[in-house]
């Protein structure tokens, strides 16, 4: 009874996913449970294994091992059934050069054998004034929106958006976010991969931080910060001599580099202690800022700061 209940609420259930390309282990043991109607974000640096994971969920790639159920269906065996229930924007979405958004949506509607919703979709994505412009002449953001329209043409229950805003300017990115929020309000399940923390924080109900083909942390942004974060931090600019002042206070960690201090602490009482100590020291300081740790802080802690590809 409980199991059945679980099946009905899960949109994605993946167990023990592995995928290698030659010697490279792209996905090295990933389990996922994504509930219906939630926005789930796979967050990680380039080359972390996000796209390979999502492509296995979509049925574009076959895993070396592991099992996947999407809406209770096997993405390889039931691919034709699933294609009618899912909408996909692959990474680096591209379309036939000289076809307009309106024509592209009409084309997809015929292929999926569903009513043509081009007017509605074009309006929703704000493509009205370019609905008759050929694909090559559209801007990056407009092209991505065409991708969204195509992914939505079959009115899918579940959407896979693989880095939908990569390479877009901030304004175009925010436009796409707006559309995604609208889709979220329509109770569609959305799986969003991104390497922009801001995007995951802005849109996702739950986040999985992926690195080296593994999930490093999973939960709501709040849960992740609580579990993996170190509490609060104080930033202040000042001379090196202040280091002594901070060292005297127990239970805090102080980092210093080129005139900038980062102090990590847990108790609000420590704030009072630190401010008093600063005042007493008589040394110059400026730009004092106290904040809770963000997802970005945790993310950088978890994956390190080294460049990967």
């Amino acid at each position: 009874m409980q199991d059945q209940d679980k099946n009905e609420t899960l949109a994605v259930e993946a167990k023990g996913l592995f995928k290698s390309y030659g010697k490279i282990k792209a996905v090295n043991g990933i389990d996922l449970k994504i509930r219906k109607g939630e926005v789930f974000s796979l967050l990680g640096p380039n080359g972390a294994g996000k796209t390979t994971t999502v492509e296995m969920l979509e049925g574009i790639r076959t895993p070396d091992s592991g099992s996947i159920k999407i809406l209770g269906l096997d993405p390889i065996k039931n691919v034709q059934d699933l294609r009618r229930k899912e909408g996909i924007i692959p990474q680096g979405f591209n379309f036939i050069e000289k076809i307009t958004p309106k024509e592209a949506i009409a084309y997809y509607s015929t292929l999926f054998n569903v009513p043509n919703r081009s007017e509605e979709l074009i309006k929703m994505t704000n493509l009205t004034n370019v609905s008759n412009v050929i694909f090559t002449d559209l801007s990056g953001g407009q092209k991505q929106k065409v991708g969204l329209c195509l992914a939505l043409s079959n009115d899918p229950e579940i959407l896979f958006l693989d880095e939908p805003t990569t390479g877009l300017d901030p304004q175009a990115r925010r436009n796409i976010w707006e559309v995604i929020r609208k889709l979220k309000s329509e109770k569609r399940t959305i799986i969003l991969t991104t390497h922009y923390l801001e995007e995951a924080e802005e849109l996702a109900d739950r986040v999985a931080i992926v690195d080296n083909g593994k999930i490093m942390a999973e939960g709501t942004p709040h849960e992740i910060i609580k579990e993996y974060g170190n509490g609060m931090r104080l930033n202040v600019d000042g001379e090196a001599g202040l280091l002594k002042v901070f060292r005297k206070i127990k239970g805090i960690k102080t980092k210093y580099g080129s005139g900038k201090f980062t102090v990590i602490f847990n108790s609000e009482k420590d704030i009072v202690k630190m401010v008093r100590a600063l005042e007493k020291s008589g040394k110059k300081w400026s730009n004092l800022k106290i904040s809770n740790e963000t997802l970005e802080d945790v993310f950088l802690d978890l994956i390190g700061t080294k460049e990967k590809d």
Binding site: E58, I60, P90, K98, L111
Partner: protein, 363 residues
């Protein structure tokens, strides 16, 4: 196979094609340009070949009548070489393909019935030189008969092989129809398959219910329509500009359609096996260029050396053109059927290979 899918994909492909000027140019205009250029070069103009003559026996009646006999064969246009010129040097300096020297003692030797040699110089690589040699031999023979007081008994009765005269232009039109079927099919598919692969459009299509088979049927349909348009254009231009006697013949459609089918399959194979668009373009050229020159596009295969004729028999385009020639020039239905059968078999083979190597999925 869902007809609606084929239709939708056909409409998208046709729109994209019609909005791409280069595609239109290569499919329709390019063969017409070839028709105009080759038609203009080989028909309507003078069929006479140049022949340089150095008459060292100038002034003798018999040498002059020899030259005028040459003139009246209608095969050569005679240019006189100054009698003081060294003939070898003169040939080299003026790039002459055929030259004749009448010796100084020509009249005297003929009068005394002595053997006399006229020297004929020619460039063996030029077919025009062979025509000049023919003219010279013809005149020598008739002079010999006259001197020997004999009359030739055997005459050739010359008549054209077809009810309509088979002029060069009439060979050129079926040849260029074959050319356009070949290039349109191979080039458009190598280009589309390699670029769709690179631009990830196949991946995009694989996310829809459209099948590879439906996609191929729509490409075949479009190419078949383009082939018919090219045929009508070519026959009309041939008729209007060169007065070619070829009319549209429905019987050629099966061989043309099998040709389209085979060549788009071949293009899909070439596009599938190449890593990128550049390699695909090279492979496309390697397939089409030798084939279009050797399979009788611009010249009848029978005018080529034997070993090239043997090579031509391995080229699918040869059978496409042969079949069209059979029906369009000679009204030869069995010839058409035979070639249609061969083209159908080759095309099916290409199709099966293409289905093996063509994939929308990424490796």
């Amino acid at each position: 196979m869902r007809l609606a899918n084929i239709k939708a994909d056909f409409v998208v492909y046709a729109r994209n094609f019609l909005r791409t000027r280069s595609a239109l140019f290569f499919t329709l205009l390019f063969p017409i340009i070839f028709l105009l250029v080759f038609g203009a070069i080989f028909s309507g103009g003078s069929t006479k070949v140049p022949l340089s003559v150095q008459n060292l026996n100038n002034g003798s009646a018999i040498s002059l009548s020899f030259v005028s006999a040459l003139n009246s064969t209608g095969l050569v246009t005679i240019t006189a070489v100054p009698s003081n010129a060294n003939i070898q040097t003169y040939i080299n300096q003026n790039s002459i393909d055929a030259a004749l020297v009448i010796p100084a003692d020509f009249a005297q030797e003929v009068a005394s019935s002595q053997n006399v040699n006229i020297s004929f110089y020619y460039n063996p690589s030029q077919s025009s030189a062979q025509t000049a040699e023919q003219a010279v031999n013809l005149v020598i023979q008739s002079f010999n008969f006259k001197i020997a007081n004999a009359t030739p008994i055997i005459h050739a009765y010359v008549s054209p092989v077809s009810t309509t005269a088979v002029g060069y232009i009439n060979y050129l039109i079926p040849g260029l129809i074959g050319f356009s079927v070949l290039t349109a099919g191979v080039f458009s598919m190598t280009n589309i398959v390699s670029s769709y692969k690179k631009e990830k459009i196949f991946r995009q299509l694989s996310l829809t219910p459209l099948t590879k088979g439906e996609w191929m049927v729509s490409k075949f349909t479009w190419n078949a329509i383009m082939a018919v348009v090219a045929i009508v254009l070519m026959i009309s231009v041939g008729d209007l500009v060169f007065g070619a006697g070829i009319t549209f013949n429905l019987y050629i459609l099966p061989i043309v359609f099998f040709g389209v089918f085979g060549f788009i399959s071949l293009g899909i194979v070439a596009g599938s096996i190449s890593k990128n668009e550049e390699t695909a373009a090279i492979i496309g050229n390697v397939i089409t260029f030798p084939m279009m020159f050797l399979a009788g596009t611009f010249f009848p295969v029978s005018s080529m050396p034997m070993y090239l004729q043997e090579i031509a028999k391995f080229l699918p385009l040869y059978y496409v053109i042969n079949g069209m020639n059979a029906i369009m020039l000679f009204g030869n239905v069995p010839g058409l059927l035979f070639n249609t059968g061969i083209v159908a078999a080759i095309s099916l083979a290409f199709f099966f290979i293409s289905m093996r190597v063509f994939s929308w999925k990424e490796s």
